[in-house]
């Protein structure tokens, strides 16, 4: 019986509002303020004497602080990359594809190529498409074990099958070596191409699972030599010069 009553008191305390419970605790702390504070100061002084064992030299401390700052920054960058990749991965077109983020370095003396800090060891192969700002900006052209070179769509040797929005016809887009590319041999009578039309890279099994935007029509006029076809100039939709990282599409099953 005694046990039951005391247990009941315990449950009343348990289910009592926290404010009431805090009153008990603060009353105790107020009444016994002096012995409690004295006890704590004794504990602190004893602990303070023990502290020097754990102290490291200032230079080591600074080194560790710098290391911590570097690790924090690295963590933040990695977190951003993960968020970016998880955003891309939510789309079903990336099923079966691996997306590899790589940092970009410009190639000196060339505005139509980029160097990536990822290579064969990371799964990169020649011909893989490279995304910048979620648009195709080029393909991997040369791969070493730790780096890779990207040939941009504006490179004069770049030839990629594309289609212009709303037209079900495939043509080759070739870079002009400057900051744009050309699409030729499109009959002017049949296709009413306008400035601003989107240019999409065609689906290529093993390299690209779905058509993706790469450029927009910047200029469209009849060819001087053959007026029956368009002379179309397109500009990349991505500001490649400002890119500091890109995503390489690695389709599963590639060796």
């Amino acid at each position: 019986m005694l046990f039951t009553w005391l247990m009941l008191v315990g449950f009343i305390f348990l289910f009592a509002p926290q404010k009431l419970a805090n009153n008990f605790q603060s009353t105790f702390a107020r009444i016994f303020h002096w012995p409690l504070s004295m006890g704590r100061s004794i504990s602190l002084s004893v602990r303070a004497k023990q502290l020097p064992i754990d102290v490291v030299p200032r230079s080591k401390y600074n080194q560790l602080q710098n290391h911590l700052a570097n690790v924090q920054e690295w963590l933040n960058q990695t977190r951003e990359k993960v968020e970016k990749l998880s955003g891309l991965r939510d789309r079903p077109i990336w099923e079966g594809a691996k997306l590899m983020i790589a940092d970009v370095a410009p190639v000196s003396g060339s505005s139509t190529e980029l160097i990536l800090n990822k290579g064969e060891d990371d799964g990169l192969r020649e011909g893989q498409f490279v995304l910048g700002e979620e648009s195709i900006i080029g393909t991997v052209s040369v791969v070493s074990s730790r780096t890779a070179r990207v040939k941009l769509i504006t490179d004069s040797t770049s030839k990629i099958p594309v289609t212009i929005e709303k037209f079900d016809v495939i043509r080759v887009m070739q870079g002009d070596g400057k900051n744009s590319a050309k699409i030729e041999l499109l009959p002017s009578r049949k296709y009413n191409v306008k400035v601003g039309d989107e240019v999409l890279v065609c689906k290529i099994p093993g390299f690209l699972n779905s058509a993706m935007i790469t450029a927009r029509v910047a200029e469209c006029r009849r060819d001087d030599e053959n007026p029956s076809v368009w002379d179309i100039t397109v500009k990349p939709v991505c500001n490649i010069e400002r890119l500091d990282e890109v995503v390489v599409i690695i389709i599963d099953g590639e060796k």
Partner: protein, 163 residues
Amino acid sequence: MRWFRFSIFVVAVTLIQAGLVDIISLINVRPDLLLILLVFFAIYCNTTEAIISSFAIGFAADIIGSAMGPQMISFGLFGTLLAYLHRFIAIREMPYQSLAIAVTGLLGGGLAFLLTYLKSQPTPPNIFTVLLGTSLYSAIIGPFLFLPSAWLMRIKTHHFVGS
């Protein structure tokens, strides 16, 4: 049981637990003096006194804890169980006393953490480490504190021996 003496003793131990026990903490593990006291009274008092003292010590533990109620219930429950167990098994040897402290600490602490969690009050992130460390540390030093406690409370600890 001298209840006035008991009250002073429990308040003193509560104050030591709240303010001074950090001095003897090892790797951030502190012994629970109130747990040791709980087992002491459960072993050396009669059942009624053990039940009252268990709840009273639990109340004292709640006063210096994070929430009111959890320790009172768990200390009361396991102190009572230990007192009833002591009717059948005399816990007089130091190793058994250590074992009683360790088991009571683990079970009582586990229940108290559970009740604290249910009350949505903060619990330490490494509950199992804290629970295990506290119970073991208390079990090691507990039996050595029984003798001074018995002297302070004027309780005879050897009234079974030789009788």
